[in-house]
Amino acid sequence: MPQKTVIEAIREGMDEEMARDPSVFLIGEDVGQRGGVFLASDGLYKKYGEYRVIDSPLAESCIVGVAIGAAINGMRPIAEIQFADFIAPAMNQIIEEAARFCYRTAGDFNLPMVIRAPWGGGVHGALYHSQSIEATFAHIPGLKVVAPGTPADAKGLLKAAVRDPDPVLFLEHKRTYRLVKGEVPDGDGVVPIGKADVKREGKDLSLIAYGLMLTYCLEVAEKLAADGISAEVLDLRTIKPIDQAAIVATAKKTGKVLVVHEDTRFAGIAAEVMAIIMEHAFDALDAPLMRLTGPDVPAMPFNHVLEEAFMPNVDRILAKAKELAAY
């Protein structure tokens, strides 16, 4: 199987879906001739033309609102928000409109649409090019939220998102774009939305993560193994609907769980994961549930000392995991 980067996998996923279904199109800022600021759509404008790869005005509510309208009328739009940090102008269209079309019409309308947004830090992006937005949107019933961490999952989940009948927020960790490489199966390789994946089996403790933190947790598991600690790594892949069965299964298996995310702590995804475990695997626990997250400050600062102080990293995850193992 060929090795690919995350960004290549996403580009391939979009290309194949657009080739397969003429109702699939891309709309966003600079996605056309420029191929997107991260080159996610490089070459697609040339291949599919200006009405399949649409350079939108610089207006996020417009991008999402127009995508909603096109989805009403038989199309399957992929709307690109250039950076997740700039999704706020489209919040009204996403939360008040897209997320409740199906509910507010008792199923008469549904919106097959994807909103792609590069998220996450570790790229010197500062306050406005580093944010995590998954918890904000996972709170909204009617939306699905996906956050792959590997090339194969990125491509497979993107395909699932395009084919899904409901609006899917597709989060692409921008640090993984070129950092993370992996094998991507030829052919469709659709990865179902709502299914977590055990990326490494273990028996002493569980690390639960997604996005860039998955890569870090896998590295930590490797280091723990050298110390004779067997860590299981569960990749959530989909944030909403969350894979409760997989979370409960790993908690019951190891009895010790550390949840890791770079999003801020309060009411973050870790809190939800911990609540699920308390409700469904309390008896199996051998230690208090632990979490390692970004701190509750507005966003990741530019200065490298401050950025490093914000981001969970391999050393910090390792230390926390050892604390858990020793409990």
Partner: protein
């Protein structure tokens, strides 16, 4: 592209509707839908004041702008993205008195939402009526997107988007007109300018007299029309529809009109406007004005008027009776259709 103000006064004299290409039957059909919209609305207020239903939001006074513009479209082929006052639009597009009353009583059978939304939040995929929420002006972007899809598939369907002059202050209004202008989309933006956004008068909403002037900034024509003259509305909408179908792009129609009722059943309009002002506008009632024209042109005779009144009354009576007794949703209905497949996840 300067704003055009359509000549409104009975040009064409006794056969104005025929010179616009409307048969007598079509002219009467427009009249009947205006009457039906009004009659349903009046019945809703009555029931609301009796405490039998919690909320009304009215079309009264704006039926001319609504039915006049909608009548220039092809129901089922074209699309509308209405706002909450547009009873005249959705009745023209195929909704019925029964649908309206089911929504008013928020019954399970309400075709818009199964009783989930307040009255006035219209939507039907089958009838090409885009579902509306409560935040104003979001539907303008949806209309642009619907029209984009038509353009992508090279279909000639036209999309009409309706909104109030207050909603025009929202960013989405700008974003929608800008996008539709760039791509010359087949959208007709219909602003029903009734002079108020709840209590806020036009002078505190914008610094200009005519919202239609803004169209120039988006590269398409803006037209001011007397919204209480249904045939004038039909005429300008017809021109806009033709332009859109030819692929020449959007038109902004500003229909100057007035709402006769308070903003909603929860509002007291005496706090911000004079009874005299309302009375002056009631003299310009679009339904009475149209009836006068139809009589003068001998299109509407006493027996025909009687038939229409009977039909309208019967529909409203039957719809009210049916809907009031129709079952509510069950508690289980709370959990369905969060997503297209399955219930809750």
């Amino acid at each position: 592209m300067a704003t055009k103000t359509q000549e409104v006064e009975a040009k064409g004299g006794q056969s104005r509707h025929r010179s616009l290409g409307l048969s007598d039957d079509q002219a009467l059909r427009i009249y009947e839908v205006m009457r039906l919209a009004r009659a349903i609305d009046e019945r809703m207020w009555l029931i609301n004041r009796q405490g039998r239903a919690p909320f009304v939001i009215s079309c009264q006074g704006q039926e001319g702008a609504q039915v006049g513009t909608a009548a220039a479209l092809r129901p089922g082929h074209d699309w509308v993205a209405p706002y909450y006052r547009d009873a005249g639009v959705i009745l023209w597009f195929g909704m019925t008195a029964k649908d309206q009353m089911l929504s008013f009583f928020a019954r399970r059978e309400d075709p818009n939402s199964g009783g989930r939304q307040m009255p006035g939040h219209f939507g039907s995929r089958r009838l090409h009526i885009v579902t509306g929420g409560s935040p104003v002006a979001t539907q303008l972007l949806h209309a642009a997107g619907v029209a984009l899809a038509s353009k992508q598939r090279q279909e000639d369907a036209v999309t009409a988007a309706y909104f109030g002059e207050g909603g025009a202050s929202q960013g989405d209004c700008h974003e929608a007109m800008n996008f539709a202008g760039i791509h010359k989309l087949g959208v007709i933006f219909v602003c029903e300018n009734n002079g108020y956004a709840i209590s806020v008068p036009q002078s505190r909403q914008m610094a200009i007299q005519n919202l239609a002037d803004r169209a120039a900034g988006y590269g398409f024509p803006g037209v001011v029309v007397d919204g209480n003259d249904v045939l004038a509305c039909y005429e300008v909408a017809g021109q806009a529809v033709e332009r859109a179908r030819r692929g020449e792009g959007p038109t902004l129609i500003e229909a100057k009109t007035y709402r006769f009722t308070a903003h909603s059943s929860d509002d007291d309009d005496k706090r911000y406007r004079q009874a005299e002002e309302v009375a002056i506008w009631r003299q310009k009632d679009p339904i009475q004005r149209y009836a006068k024209y139809l009589r003068e042109s001998t299109t509407l005779t006493d027996p025909v008027e009687k038939e229409i009144t009977e039909r309208v009354d019967q529909q409203v009576d039957e719809a009210t009776e049916y809907a009031e007794q129709a079952p509510d949703p069950t508690p289980d209905d709370l959990m369905t259709f969060v997503y297209k497949q399955g219930t809750v996840s």
